[in-house]
């Protein structure tokens, strides 16, 4: 199979999921926003968010069964780095109003200038970070 075919197909499936969520439920498929809305003290409408998460995990289990190479059994990154990275991803997505899915998949589809800026910034910074830590600095 052509090397880029499954990434392209995966992307089309992702985009279709986002299209269905907006078209059917009127919601943006931004994962940090969906999960952020479940935190204590955030306003209602939790059920659709929980349903989406349940779907995500069901999908994860299906992958584990049918495409096990897609799901890593363990991570090469150290625990401290994972904690720091997780904090930055959460804080950054909260402050910047979106993550790869919200700004990338959905925001660009909405022709949002804010999302275009966010995508350019986080791509550039992520590439720089990954280059700098190539040898495992942390």
């Amino acid at each position: 199979m052509l090397p880029y075919l499954s990434p392209l197909l995966g992307g089309i499936v992702l985009g279709t999921a986002a299209l269905l969520l907006l078209g059917l439920c009127g919601r943006v498929a931004g994962i940090s926003g969906i999960v952020g809305g479940l935190l204590p003290g955030r306003p209602g409408d939790r059920l659709w968010r929980l349903a989406f998460l349940a779907g995500l995990w069901t999908g994860g289990l299906l992958l584990l069964r049918w495409l096990p190479t897609a799901i890593p059994q363990s991570l090469a990154t150290g625990r401290i780095t994972l904690i720091v990275a997780g904090l930055l991803v959460g804080l950054g997505a909260g402050l910047g109003s979106g993550c790869t899915s919200g700004h990338g998949v959905c925001g660009l589809g909405l022709r949002s200038r804010r999302s275009l800026v966010a995508v350019l910034v986080f791509m550039a910074v992520a590439i720089a970070t990954a280059q700098l830590t190539r040898g495992g600095v942390l």
Partner: protein, 135 residues
């Protein structure tokens, strides 16, 4: 139906991530280190669908199962947006994990991934609240 639809969307989303290779942090890090261009096609395929499809939904002005499209209305490019995206980029580049793939991979209950997701939720809770979010 109101809860089946988001369930199916979440399921499709996870399958798309898995098929695309986004659920593999080693693959994502290879992409960010500019060693493996595959993941460009993920964003390309996904944005192709939303770029063509979202305007049709917008023109219709409502969702099939509800009257409102919950879309962000802010258009200002401000400091929180840029700072937030930069912090997000550092985290993503460190571990090769962003929220969707991290939550999907959580089905293995890997302790490192649990730590990442717990820290991510803490980070989201720490971020100043805004009315308007793209998620």
């Amino acid at each position: 139906m109101r809860h089946i639809a988001p369930f199916v969307c979440g399921l499709l989303f996870a399958l798309g991530l898995g098929l695309a290779g986004m659920t593999r942090p080693d693959k994502v890090l290879g992409f960010l280190r500019l060693e493996d261009p595959d993941l460009m096609f993920v964003m390309g395929g996904a944005v192709l669908v939303t770029f063509l499809g979202f305007p049709l939904i917008r023109r219709r002005g409502r969702a099939v199962l509800g009257p409102t499209l919950h879309l962000p209305s802010t258009t200002r490019i401000d400091r929180p947006l840029v700072l937030g995206a930069a912090l997000f980029g550092v985290g993503w580049g460190l571990a090769g994990l962003c929220p969707g793939p991290a939550l999907t991979d959580l089905v293995t209950l890997d302790p490192g991934l649990l730590l990442f997701c717990a820290a991510m939720l803490a980070g989201l809770a720490l971020a100043p609240r805004k009315r308007d979010s793209c998620g």
